[in-house]
Amino acid sequence: MDKQTNQVQQDQVDELYAEAIHWHVNTGGETIHAKRVPGLFRRLKWFSMSIWLLYFIGPYLRWGDRQAVLLDIPNRKFHIFDITIMPQDVWLLAMVLLFFSILLAAITSLSGRVFCGYFCFQTVWTDIFTLIEEKLEGNPTQRRKLEKAPWDLHKLRIKAIKHTIWIGIGVFTGIGFISWFVDVYQLWIDIVNFDASMLVWITIITFTLGTYILAGFMREQTCFWLCPYARIQGVMYDTETILPTYDYHRGEPRGKLKKGQPIEGNGDCISCNQCLAVCPTGVDIRDGQQEGCITCGLCLDACDTVMDKIGRPRGLIRYASLDEMQGKPHVPFIRRPRVLIYFGIMILAISGLIYGLSNLGTFDLKVLHERQPLFVQLSSGAIQNKYQLKVLNKTDHDMHISIVAEGPKGLEIHGVREKMLLPAGHLSNFTVYIRVPKQNLGSDRTPVNFRIQSFEVFDDMTEYMSMFYGPRI
């Protein structure tokens, strides 16, 4: 191989290296100190973040003599305002989960990682944590300076205050979480008296540590390397999905201003790097859509501010789809089958939920047939079957019921009284014997229908079809 070809190949390799030279993997080697810029998307973010206040306030709402929303796991009852959901109706939870998972898919398909950027607790808590950091340590430049500064009393004081506030937020996050599962007023009494259960302490400690570490230190590393959800959302984009996009047609070639004036022939991007400075995950939006982008829109605010300053139209970075960038016509979501299917599933889930909630019922009845023996012959010549009836009173008041059975001719029901007590929210067991004269049995198995009737609620009855066994004929 002669020297010249060798040289040419070397050039080509250098070109390959140059292509990716700016790219680096963000493994958290350097803390990202993002600048805070006011603007439309910052306001939107504050609005969506404020929804999380419900997380802290919610448990203090009362409904009658109990907490309005109480997920009472030890007693296996979920109270949501007027509704009480028992484990038997927990399929409703599946509907809720289905709705929200498809809602996530639909919104992601429409406008990207809206959840990540505006609502995710990781994003929200990190934003609050960095706000505290900014208030105490100053802007990003001052923060970087403080990081490098030697440990003197001033630095120690600032850092101590910051970490104390962070841990305090963590503690309140933990208490906020556990408040949904126990009575919150009793919880506070227990906490103040150091009398709470081990589970409560462990939960609070776990949440405190989790919040402190994830929002204080891990930050965007969580989105990069820990969160499976970020990846799932990342693959739900279409070319029609609108995302924060750098308009390279308008921006390139980019270059710095010279003496306050743009260089002739350059695009609108003046390489001010404000979009980089404000990014909470430290990505460069001008490289196109990438895994680190949580589509929070903060770079849009930053860029618009700069465009205003240099007298160029806003929207160099804006919500735009890939199709738009490539000059393809915009497809309204009504003509995108994927989105329509998502909405269809969401409507199904909501319908299921509404159906379930409006048909919660008063009772739940299960009938277990005794297996050993399946039947016995009595001295009267009748055949007797034994059943265990499990009756759940789903309401919060005591009820009185009667048990009725319908089946073959001459059927008699034994072991039950005319009017039986069914304690509130309690599963009661009844042993019931059914007797049928042998000659009335047409086959070795005859259907028997059990019915529960309440003395208090007339329009509500519950039925259960079981079998009556007899000798082989």
Binding site: E370, R371, Q372, P373, V376, Q377, L378, S379, S380, G381, Q384, K386, N429, T431, Y433
Partner: protein
């Protein structure tokens, strides 16, 4: 390699080089690995100090917590007995009939006596009281010695051994065939031989048996000595009797006594209630 010259100096290798450039480095293991390693041996140390562990010459190190698996078992058992205690003390002072009448106590008994029934009764009478050939069904309402809860309690405490003499000397084959056919048909009282051969003495004018004697009801189609050919089985019972020592082919039918040392009085009361509630108590 015995070469003195290290071809890759200054990179902290062992000096061993294979195939020109494969060499072993002297890097520290990763921090996470070292944390895991130290955490592991500290865990082992603490664990073996807390719990029974190291073997010694004649015994073993007991651990500073004094934990034993038997101790834990006994502790759990104590916790369960504490829950049961209020019921058990009540049961001890009540009669079986009183227990049966009390709804919460009898439902406690149905659950707790299931184990007693499984241990003591189910071998002969079946797990659900469904009976076996020669061992009466406990879930029906046909009782040899009475089906009240007190009768059942007596039966369990004292045991039962019924007696029916063998009739092969006084009943001919043809007569036995006639009798057994009428029993299976359910109309034995209309059969003249029933009076003639003295069956009526024990089984009663109505043929329904007498509880004090333990004689069987011959009219209800329920057979203790159930068999595929029921007529033949009944005939065998007539000819050879039940528990008749003089006949080697006699039916063996003994209910052992569970009173005294075998089961406590409370346990027997519980069992009586349990059996009564199997489906046929009177």
């Amino acid at each position: 390699m015995s070469d003195d010259k290290n071809p890759f100096p200054g990179e902290n290798n062992t000096g061993h080089v294979w195939d020109d450039n494969l060499r072993e480095l002297l890097n520290d293991p990763p921090t996470w690995w070292r944390i895991g390693f130290h955490a592991s041996w500290i865990f082992v140390l603490v664990y073996t100090l807390l719990y029974p562990s190291w073997p010694l010459i004649n015994t073993h190190f007991k651990g500073i917590m004094g934990w034993t698996s038997l101790g834990e078992y006994k502790q759990d058992l104590k916790a369960i007995e504490e829950v049961r205690a209020p019921y058990e003390t009540k049961l001890a002072s009540m009669t079986a009939a009183e227990i049966l009448a009390d709804e919460s106590l009898s439902s406690y008994v149905v659950r707790s006596a299931k184990v007693l029934f499984g241990d003591n009764c189910s071998a002969c009478h079946g797990a659900g009281g469904q009976g076996n050939p020669s061992y009466p069904v406990l879930a029906d309402d046909d009782w040899l010695y009475g089906g009240s809860v007190t009768d059942i309690q007596t039966t369990i405490t004292m045991g039962r051994k019924g007696m029916m003499p063998a009739h092969k000397a006084m009943v001919s084959e043809a007569e036995a065939d006639k009798l057994s056919a009428s029993i299976v048909a359910g109309n034995v009282v209309t059969e003249p031989l029933y009076m003639e051969k003295g069956c009526v003495g024990c089984h009663g004018v109505d043929g329904k048996g007498m509880a004090p004697l333990g004689s069987a009801n011959l009219t209800d189609g329920i057979y203790r000595f159930a068999a595929a050919d029921q007529t033949y089985s009944v005939k065998h019972t007539i000819m050879h009797g039940v528990n008749d020592a003089s006949d080697t082919n006699t039916r063996d039918a003994v209910m052992p006594a569970f009173g005294g040392t075998k089961l406590s009085e409370t346990d027997i009361k519980k069992l009586a209630v349990y059996v009564h509630k199997l489906g046929g108590g009177q």
